[in-house]
Symmetry: D3
Subunit: 158 residues, 6 copies
Amino acid sequence: MFDHRTEHVDDHMVLVQANLDDMNPEFSSYVMDRLFEAGANDVYWVPIIMKKGRPGMMLNVLVAEERLEQIETIVFAETTTLGLRYVRAEVHRLARQFVQVETEWGPIAVKLGFHRGELVQMAPEFKECEAAAKRSGVPLKRVYEEVRRNYADNRTLE
Amino acid sequence: MFDHRTEHVDDHMVLVQANLDDMNPEFSSYVMDRLFEAGANDVYWVPIIMKKGRPGMMLNVLVAEERLEQIETIVFAETTTLGLRYVRAEVHRLARQFVQVETEWGPIAVKLGFHRGELVQMAPEFKECEAAAKRSGVPLKRVYEEVRRNYADNRTLE
Amino acid sequence: MFDHRTEHVDDHMVLVQANLDDMNPEFSSYVMDRLFEAGANDVYWVPIIMKKGRPGMMLNVLVAEERLEQIETIVFAETTTLGLRYVRAEVHRLARQFVQVETEWGPIAVKLGFHRGELVQMAPEFKECEAAAKRSGVPLKRVYEEVRRNYADNRTLE
Amino acid sequence: MFDHRTEHVDDHMVLVQANLDDMNPEFSSYVMDRLFEAGANDVYWVPIIMKKGRPGMMLNVLVAEERLEQIETIVFAETTTLGLRYVRAEVHRLARQFVQVETEWGPIAVKLGFHRGELVQMAPEFKECEAAAKRSGVPLKRVYEEVRRNYADNRTLE
Amino acid sequence: MFDHRTEHVDDHMVLVQANLDDMNPEFSSYVMDRLFEAGANDVYWVPIIMKKGRPGMMLNVLVAEERLEQIETIVFAETTTLGLRYVRAEVHRLARQFVQVETEWGPIAVKLGFHRGELVQMAPEFKECEAAAKRSGVPLKRVYEEVRRNYADNRTLE
Amino acid sequence: MFDHRTEHVDDHMVLVQANLDDMNPEFSSYVMDRLFEAGANDVYWVPIIMKKGRPGMMLNVLVAEERLEQIETIVFAETTTLGLRYVRAEVHRLARQFVQVETEWGPIAVKLGFHRGELVQMAPEFKECEAAAKRSGVPLKRVYEEVRRNYADNRTLE
C-alpha cells in the first residue's frame, strides 16, 4: 500500500466496466455509494448508445486488484448486468496535503497537490465551503473565491 | 394541413417533453415506434442529469396540436412519467421532392429539399442504400458516395 | 394553485435556461438544492457543446411564473451566467396518490399516477426502498421488485 | 472457448476503439449490425468532444483476440477512421440460463444470471415482451411487470 | 434594440432548432462561425438520440426575431436539415461592464455582470488570459486565479 | 518510430485519463492545444457523471510511452486533477497518402488511407475546404461534395 502523502504510481489497479441498458437509472447513486464503501477508488458513469440504439450507461469502477472480488460481487448484486470487463491500469497520484485557511466564515480546509515537490493543485474542500455558504447565506462561488484568495495572499506573505 | 411538396411554416406544433429517471432504457425504441405510429412528426431523446445527480433521459415529441391528446396518452401509458410539459413551436419545412438515381446496384431514391425554390439538400435514402450495401457486399459509404456522385454528374449534364 | 390530487394542466409555467461554460461543475448539486428550496418544480442539466467547442452545461429550471423572480436571483447569484432565457410552457400533471405496501422490511410507500381516472403509473418511493436495502443488506433491486410484486398481488385480490 | 452456461473469466478479449469526427451518423446502426455479424461480443458508441471542439463518436467493439482481424477490416471498410486502438481486456461472464414464464399473453422467456451459483439477474426477453405488447395492445411496461411477477410468484411456490 | 450596459429583458427572441443525423460533424465549427457572423446571439449543440437509435446533434441558435430569416438561410445552406423549428423566448441580460485589472503579465480585462445594481458576476476575459499564459509559459489556471485575486484585492481597498 | 506512409501497429502507446469535476470548462481548448504541442497523438473529452452526480469531463490523451512524462506534467499543471491513470494500448494506423484534387476553387488536398494496400478512406482536408468556402461564399458541404466527386471521377478515368 502507498502512503498518500507521497507522490507515487500504483500499478496494480483495475478499471471495471459494465454496460447497462435495462437498469432503472434511479439506482445509480445507491450503486455508487455501495461501491465506494467497498473500497472503490473512483466510480463514474459514461452515457453510451448500445445495441438497437438504446441509451445506456457504462459503469466504471477504479479499484485495487486485491479488492476486485468484492467490487464484482456488488456490481452483480446491485446492477442488472450479466457480465463485466476489466482493464489493467496504472494510477499516478500526486502527493497530497491539507491546510486550513482563515475566512470570515471560519477556517476552511484546502487540499494541495504536489508534482515532483512543486505545488500544482489547490482545491477548497467542497463540503466545508457548502456548509459555510448555507450557514451564512452567501453565494457558494464567493466562499470558494475567498478561500482561494486568502490562501494565495498568505502564501505571498511567507 | 400542408402540402409537403411546398415550403411552408406550420405554427400549430407542440414540443412535448418528459424527464425520465426511473424507466428501463430498453423501452426507448418501443416508445419511439408507438409515438411515430400515433402521428408524431419527430421523436428524440436528450441525455440529462436529474435530481440527486441521476442520469436521466428527456423524451421529446414534436407533434401537431390536434394530435396532442393521443401522444399524451401513449407517453403516460408507455413511460414512467407522472407529468409532461409542452412548449408551442413553429416548424419551417422545405419543399421536398424524390428522384431516382441510377447506380450499379440499381436505382436508388434521393430526397431533395428546396428553400425559396433553390435546391439546398440532397440525401440518398438510407434504407435503399443499406439494402444495396447488404445485397452487394460493398461498404455502405461507397454506395452513398456513388449515389451522390451520379446525382451530381447527371445534374451537370442537364 | 392546483390540487395535486387531481389531474390538471398548468399553463403558467416557465422553463428558465442558462448555458454555462465557465462554472466549476462541483457547484451543480448546490445550485440544484437552492433552486428546489426556492420553489422550482424541476431542475435538470443538459450537457452541451458551446462556442469554440467548449463542453458546457445547460441549466434548466421549470417554475411557476409567480416564482420566476426568486429563481432568477438564485441563478445569477450562484452560477456564472451573464444572461438567461425563458420559454413559456404548459405542464400536464397526473392525479397522484400514495399507498402503503407491506413488505418483509416493513411498509413502503408507492406513488400512483392516474390519467383520466385510470391507473397508469406505480413507483415505489426511492428513499424508503434505499433505507430498507441499507438496513437489511438486501440488494436495492430486490426491494423494488418485492414492492412492485406485493402491490400487484394485492390489487389482484381486491 | 467457453461454455456460456458456466460462469467464467475470458482473458483473451480486446476492446477496439475508433474516434470518428467525419462520419455520417446515419451509418452507425449499419456498422453495428456488421460488427455483430462478424462475431463482436459487444458494440457501443460513446459521445465525445474531439479536436477543435468537434462533437464526435467513439466506436467501441469488444471482441475475442482471434477475431480481431475481421473486426478491423470492417471498421476500416465501413467507418471513416484512419486508425484504431486496442486495449487488452478480461471479461467475467455469469452463468446463464433461460426459463419460460407463463403469462396471459403466452409463455415468455426470461434470462437468468448466476454468480457463484446464486441467482443474481432475471431479465425478461425484450423481443418477446415487445411482441406480446404489440399483439395485445397492452403497455410494454405492464408485460415486463407481469413476467417478473409471475417468475417470482412461481419461485416462491417451489 | 437594447443598451447592453443596462440590465434588460428582451422578449422578441427566437430559439431555432434543427436535429441532424446525417451531417459530417466536422462541419459543426464552421456552421457556428457563420451563424455568429450573421448575428446569432448564441449557438450551441446538444447531443441527442434520434430515430432508429442514431446518435445525432441538435443545433440551437438564439436570435432576435428580425434576423430569423438570415439565420434560417444559413442553417438550410450549411447543414443537411430538411426542416427546423422555432420557439419564442425571452432573454434576461445583466448589465455588463468591462474593467482592466493589473497583473504581472500586464493588464487583463474582466467582464462584470450586475443584477439590480449589485455585482454578481466577474469573469476574466478568456482570450487575454490565454494570450498571457502562452506568452509567459505560466499555467492558464494560475493566470485566471491571479486576475480574480487582484480584482478582489483592489476592490477591498476602495 | 514508424513511417506513417506504411500501415503499422504501434504497441507502445498509452491512454492517459483524468476525471475532472472542478475545472472551468473554458480551459479545455487550451489544455488540448498544449497537449498536442507536447506530442500527444490524440486528445478528446468524454462527458461523465461523477461522485454526487456531478457532471464531469474525462480527459483522454493518447501518447507514445516515451512522451508520457511531458504529457503528465502538462495535465498536472493545466488541469485541476490530483491523479491520473494510464492504460496500455496498441494503435493500428493505416498507410496514408496525400493527393491534390482540382476544383473550381483551386486544388484541395485529400487524405487517403490504405488497409493491406487497398484504398479504404478518402477525406478532403477540412482546413482547405473551409478556406475555399469562406473565400467563395459557397456552402462548405458543396465544396466537400465537389472534392469527393472530382476525386472519384478522375480515379475512374485512370
